[in-house]
Symmetry: C2
Subunit: 226 residues, 2 copies
């Protein structure tokens, strides 16, 4: 998998770990003569590896969030839909060893299976190269999605900002679209936060909501740094 | 807390982390003028720190366990009752900052609160000194409980051994008490596994069941290494 080396600079020392991470039990069962383990034990470990790294990342990135807000945000990130998406973005699905029956049943597109493989892959990388290598990999595959505000609950930062500003009386909060640009990656929005008509932070995102969130979040960060 | 230094060789670089890990929200609320954060965010992080380290430990220690068995074993270890017990064994409860109301309500003995503090303490240690320090601490506080077979489901290894041996016909499996010795730490058992009257592995534990488990487990490990 020169893909891993080119995109992420990852070269496994122990290739059997990578092979196991990409092997579904249906393949292991159909090829017992190969004695290939499936990914299930690595998935068990990788699940905890991802949970800790995502927890640590958002703990440090959002010092203003309460334990309840952190838990909610983590649940949005550490879930089947996200992990399946990350697995596809990395390009792992093409390399999964699947049994014939599961292949015909469409397992290669199944979200729960892709989630498992993403977890198992991180478990294998953790065993092979330690947590720092995992963190570098997640920087490129997961954290930038967090940075762009995709996972914040749609109203979290906006609501938080509103509550914080209106504590001392009424304030006029507005979000204006500066740009809505179509590209290969879909539409990109640039949105400006205005408070009492004063132009403040700008957020970008692939939806209006995420761009607004980002603008609100940036201004909250500014407020808390003061 | 010279206790931590003497028992575990731990000296916090950032004492405010340790202080936060030992501060309940009721205390922080009653002493707002001190601006002490409570342990809740550290508990969020520490929960994931413990989950990963326990997962990694049992993943490596029990190569013969399936993902399902690992998950079950982890759930027995990573739970309120165990974490509360570890918190007490470390001696943390005396140092928790509690509000007056909660103190009167008996919160210092409440399992869920002691669990939270154990998690928060590990979160603080992780931030202050990294995961290796956490692993050393867990070696002394958690892993030896795992090593002594306390958490294996009471029949797991014995049942597994029985199923494995009887696959090829009837086998006589017996466990005999070699020793039941009273000491300051309670009674200690030494139990020998016999298969068709042949003396095999010996297990020790603080209950007959855990000693039997350990003996069965050791013989299983021997079988799987062959």
């Amino acid at each position: 998998m020169s893909l891993l080396k080119e995109k992420y600079g990852i070269v496994f020392r122990d290739w059997s770990l990578l092979q196991a991470a990409l092997t579904h039990s249906s393949y292991a069962n159909e090829h017992r003569e190969l004695h290939v383990p499936d990914y299930e034990r690595l998935e068990f470990l990788g699940d905890a590896v991802l949970e800790l790294n995502v927890s640590q990342y958002i703990y440090k990135k959002f010092p203003q969030l309460s334990e309840g807000q952190l838990t909610k945000l983590r649940a949005d990130i550490v879930c089947t839909a996200s992990f399946s998406k990350f697995c596809q973005e990395v390009g792992l699905p093409d390399f999964i060893n699947l049994g014939n029956g599961e292949e015909k049943a469409g397992a290669r597109q199944r979200d729960t299976l892709l989630e498992d493989v993403f977890e198992a892959f991180n478990g294998a990388l953790y065993l092979d190269q330690g947590n720092q290598a995992v963190q570098q990999f997640l920087q490129q595959t997961v954290y930038h999605h967090i940075d762009s505000g995709e996972f914040s609950d749609e109203n979290d930062f906006k609501t938080e900002l509103q509550e914080e500003l209106q504590r001392n009386g009424d304030v006029n909060i507005d979000y204006q679209v500066l740009l809505a640009e179509d590209s290969d990656q879909g539409t990109k929005f640039r949105i400006q936060l205005l408070i009492n008509e004063k132009e403040l932070t700008i957020g970008t995102g692939h939806s209006k909501k995420s761009a607004e969130q980002r603008a609100a979040q940036k201004y909250l960060q500014y407020l808390h740094k003061k």
